[in-house]
């Protein structure tokens, strides 16, 4: 599976490089003067964005962020999603994605997700999805995963930023995790397995740095809830969070 994932990454990266290279070639070779390269536009741009870096009340925390590099249409994205709660690592994911602009507000994503597991064996998923903004400005990620021996999963994330003032922002967030099968070792169940809802109050010290406080609620659902009960774990939890968002 890992090989398949790597192959896809290689293909998508090659695709990205080729497309951007093609765009950089001047179209009119017969120009007697240098091409219009000096109008100030940079072909490519790199960005690090840390969406959530936070401590959570249940002896846990989350780091979710990405590095992207590319031009207007094609980007390489490396994403980290680490989540810990109640003394247990809930997410430990490293993504490598090719992102391609497909419409004014939406990007198509293709790549792999690698889940580091300390207790059991690590897993790889092929990830295919979209990220963008819906009417009424909800930010949304929807990614489908295909993993080992035909296992499937789907993640839907949404966030909204409500401006209370020019600097205070209230940001509700929701994440839904679906699986195509039961997986008792991972504690995930077929169908809707896990629901996370967060509400964060952010203060933009600068546009690039906003500390926040908030509350995070998560709940296991369906079979996943049954697995949790069998393990003697809580089905849901509500915790305070304290963190920051930054980009540069």
């Amino acid at each position: 599976m890992f090989k398949a994932g790597t192959l896809i990454t290689v293909i998508s990266l090659t695709l990205a490089v080729h497309t951007s290279h093609a765009q950089m070639l001047p179209q009119h070779q017969h120009h007697s003067y240098q091409p219009l390269s000096d109008t100030g536009e940079k072909e490519t741009m790199a960005e690090v964005s840390l969406d959530y870096v936070e401590l959570r009340g249940n002896d846990g925390g989350e780091i979710e962020g990405d590095f992207s590099y590319g031009d207007d249409q094609n980007k390489f994205v490396a994403e980290v999603d680490y989540e810990r709660g109640g003394g247990e690592t809930e997410k430990n994911e490293l993504w490598a994605l090719y992102s391609r602009a497909i419409s004014a507000k939406w990007n198509f994503l293709l790549g792999i997700r690698h889940d580091f597991q300390l207790e059991t064996t690590s897993r790889n998923w092929i990830a295919v999805g979209v990220t963008g903004e819906t009417p009424y400005s909800f930010e949304m990620d929807a990614v489908f995963f295909y993993g080992k021996s035909g296992s499937t999963a789907f993640r839907l994330e949404g966030e909204y930023e409500l401006k209370l003032t020019q600097k205070w922002i209230l940001a509700p967030r929701i994440e839904l995790n679906f699986f195509g099968q039961n997986d008792e070792t991972q504690g995930s169940g077929s169908g809707l397995s896990e629901l996370e809802i967060g509400l964060r109050l952010m203060y933009e010290i600068t546009k690039k740095f906003s500390p926040y406080i908030g509350v995070h609620y998560e709940r296991e659902i369906g079979n996943a809830a049954d697995f949790a009960r069998e393990e003697g774990e809580d089905v849901d939890s509500t915790v305070w969070v304290l963190g920051f968002r930054a980009w540069f």
Binding site: L36, G40, P135
Partner: protein, 599 residues
Amino acid sequence: MTESFRSGAISRRTFVTGVGAGAALLGLPQRPLSASSAVSPAEVLSGHQFNLSIGYRRVNFTGSERQAVTVNGSLPGPILRWREGDTVTLNVRNQLARASSLHWHGIRVPSDMDGVPGLSFSGIEPGQTFRYRFPIRQSGTYWYHSQSGFQEQQGLYGAIVIDPASPEPFASDRDYVVVLSDWSNEPPQAIYTNLKKDPHYYNRQQRTAADLWREVRANGVARTWRDRHPRNWAQVSDRDIAHVTGETYTYLINGQTPDANWSALFKPGEKIRLRFINAASMTLFDLHIPALKMRVIAADGQNIEPVSVDEFRIGTGETYDVIVEPKGDRAYTLFAQTMDRSGYARGTLTADVNLSAQIPPMDHRPMFTPQDLGLTERPTATTADNKYKTAKVGHSDTESDPPTAVAGGWYYGNLAAAGLGSNAPIAHQPSEFGYSVDSRAASPANGLTDPGIGMRNHMRRYNRRVLTYADLRKLKPSRDRRQPERELQLHLTGNIDRYMWSINGEKPRNADPLLLRHGERLRITLVNDTTFVQPIHLHGLWSELETGDGQHLPNKHTILVQAGSTISYLVSADTYGRWALQCQMLYQRPGMFREVRIV
């Protein structure tokens, strides 16, 4: 030979650059330059031959030192004073570490003298000198600026004043150049990168929950929902009036901050000519002088039939000449607030060097209306097919058949008469339907009579008469009175979230040049599909704005296309070569740029 212009040498008509020069000439005690005074006032260079040196210079506008890029060490650069009929030679030496260029904005030059790297020449390499030489065939107020990278933002601009060969039709006793510009302590590449990553980076006046609450209390939930729906659905931030704002900019008049207060002297009863030039990179200014009427006598350097107004909006790249007649031993404030009301440039007209006037409050902050989103009340006409949404443009009263469309936005036959504007249906090109375009005006209004967002009801609100393009009428009859043979419809497009800008959805490097036949007369119709006003500058040729009377079309070089609106002008393709058609907003120019080739 370059020589300093001595205004004392001219008997009555003085031409000065402000209190610094003026006071010295009049023998008045010179004011100490305040801490925020960055550089000495621009000197006036006149004659036939000019030696200009582009170099770095430390400046201090806000309390911290920064590096500017200047001509002959002043910001703005020296005022170049030419005479119609002369041939001027300009030796431009580049002392920067990277390539540079100077473009003579609005001057009709041969295309290899136009100063656009990649089109006119290869630019001026570090340490090199480029010799510009061209005949002057026009008169009025113009300006020059770098056409390389973002050097314009760093101070590489200055005024051009051309004295007419024939007598000046409008008498004045004094003559001042007023260069409006925007300065940032941030390097321009950082501003561009910030906009790329967060287009709302410099916007600190977005609507908030408090505004929503006020609206709901006033209008109820249902009406508020209905009012906001088009913007919310289109994901448009309704107070996104300017991309780069007073958050980072300090606005300058002749290189002076509002605190430094550039001042110009008058004697009561004198007629004062003010030559306004908007040399800003990203700022449109709304200018008024409280308690003083302005008689607008020239637009983009070219004389018009005088119009008396209280206020005008000047787009980046545009120039307006006005005559004012201040009365009494008092002072008047030149107040140039930015379109989004995030800041202002300020200067003073005063009878006494120690007097200054009150600074007026800024006007209300504008908000997008459906018109700015390209949604006018006018009913949409037929829908041709899935890809082509069409709507009739309302310039023409004639009910004849519309012109015939051919590929690339060209129209032939049944064109409206010169002066009336376009009667062609609005058609979005297939290239507009991609990730690079986030909005297409469904039913664009005619932008001719629109004073622009935030200026639409100033008579009712503030009792100020605002200039519109419909007021502009060329003083002398148009030279070329032919009817347009064909029409080119170009769409100004963009995607604010990706901060990408384009024409017809195409980046310049992916687009073919627009080919014009030498000698032809054509109409260009610009359709602004974006939600931002776009100042569009056609190099090398006049843009004869169709303001109604085909015999008196004003010659312009830069035309404001209101958001979600359309406007038309005629062009006589009388100069061979490769020209730029570009957006004058600096950080949008990389994409909203197209080569025009006259063959």
